[in-house]
Symmetry: C2
Subunit: 214 residues, 2 copies
């Protein structure tokens, strides 16, 4: 399924890297651990890092972002959520053509507070499961008091685009014979050994020892 | 050296995690491969991922960000550059107290175009060296035509703050005896094996095989 491009989501620079394919947008959102949420207050920009979760066509945010926005604004706020995965450093023979391989997504729209208790609970469930799949089967679920203390924002994934670069460097033809190494250095996220709390009575679960992103 | 907090950089949520220590701010900026640049056009937010480099008290950005901003604005633009390093997933016994360990920096200010050719050259040199230290001793330096094609922005690091979380989960006392594992899963960036271009005539340099961030 394609997302209809809008004026904001039409990629103009390196447009051959653009995609409006919903499956790709969702895959980047689901793989990334965190996002950067941008909004403007009195015309001045703020960018806050936070975690996110997707349920079907909605991106959910919570906590810090919601609180910050709530302090200033009620009734929703224009947001731009950007999610970036860096896959490789790309070294060209010329300084100018150095690049990175990446997958990024931008979602634009009006973020609004979730009031419905069922939707809020589902969003918080999804936020924990987004970071550690399997965790909500074990963790103590939020109490009513905790639910009241947590603000959740919803942003429909209706105005969004992805941008992807893959492959090696693209040098100018006249640089190809230069005695300068050219290629890619792949990057990925490594997961270390779990560090148990001194007072934890349980053993490390398989969803932690075998942790990986989708 | 401490950076004087302003209204924008005073951390209000989880303020025990805040720092205005210039050395810490610089260390996060220097370690991170990329940043997210926020700005507003007609009051609507944009967040663009890009690379950055620091020279002393100035953060430099280039290319996509500069072009995007330039399309709309001349004479500088209010920006918020946020840089985030995620160090660990933090699993508490309760869903509510799940967290992440991270180091983040926000730099606010007016980003302006670099016109001075020497400063522009130094910034582009720093941008390549930021990503791959040692690379500019080998790569073909930018030509005059390439320099003209590249826009560079400068943002003074004068209004900035850092936020850092470390350590294990902080559960409520009544949850400590729950039979739920609690602890941290450390994250780091892993560097794969270099992939040489088929037509590269040089061997993989030591600054690639031994790549690591500062």
């Amino acid at each position: 399924m394609q997302i209809a491009p809008t004026d904001r989501t039409t990629v103009r620079r390196q447009s051959q890297r653009a995609s409006y394919e919903r499956k790709l947008v969702d895959a980047v959102i689901d793989e990334a651990l965190s996002c950067h949420v941008g909004f403007a207050i009195d015309g001045r920009p703020w960018v806050i890092p936070t975690i996110h979760a997707r349920i079907d066509d909605v991106l959910y945010l919570h906590g810090a972002v919601a609180n910050h926005m709530l302090r200033e604004i009620s009734g929703g706020i224009e947001a731009c959520v950007t999610i970036t995965l860096v896959d490789a450093l790309v070294l060209a023979r010329s300084a100018f053509h150095h690049s990175m391989n990446y997958r990024s997504v931008m979602v634009f729209g009006r973020a609004t507070i979730v009031d419905d208790p069922d939707e809020k609970w589902a969003a918080l469930h999804a936020l924990v499961e987004h970071v550690v799949p399997g965790r909500m089967a074990e963790a103590r679920p939020p109490s009513d008091a905790e639910l009241r203390k947590t603000a959740v924002l919803r942003l429909p994934i209706s105005e969004a685009s992805a941008k992807v670069r893959t492959g090696g460097p693209i040098d100018d033809p006249e640089d190809l014979a230069l005695p300068v190494w050219a290629g890619q250095l792949p990057l990925s996220t490594a997961y270390g050994s779990a560090v148990s709390e001194p007072d934890t009575v349980a053993t490390v679960p398989a969803y932690v020892t075998g942790y990986r992103r989708p």
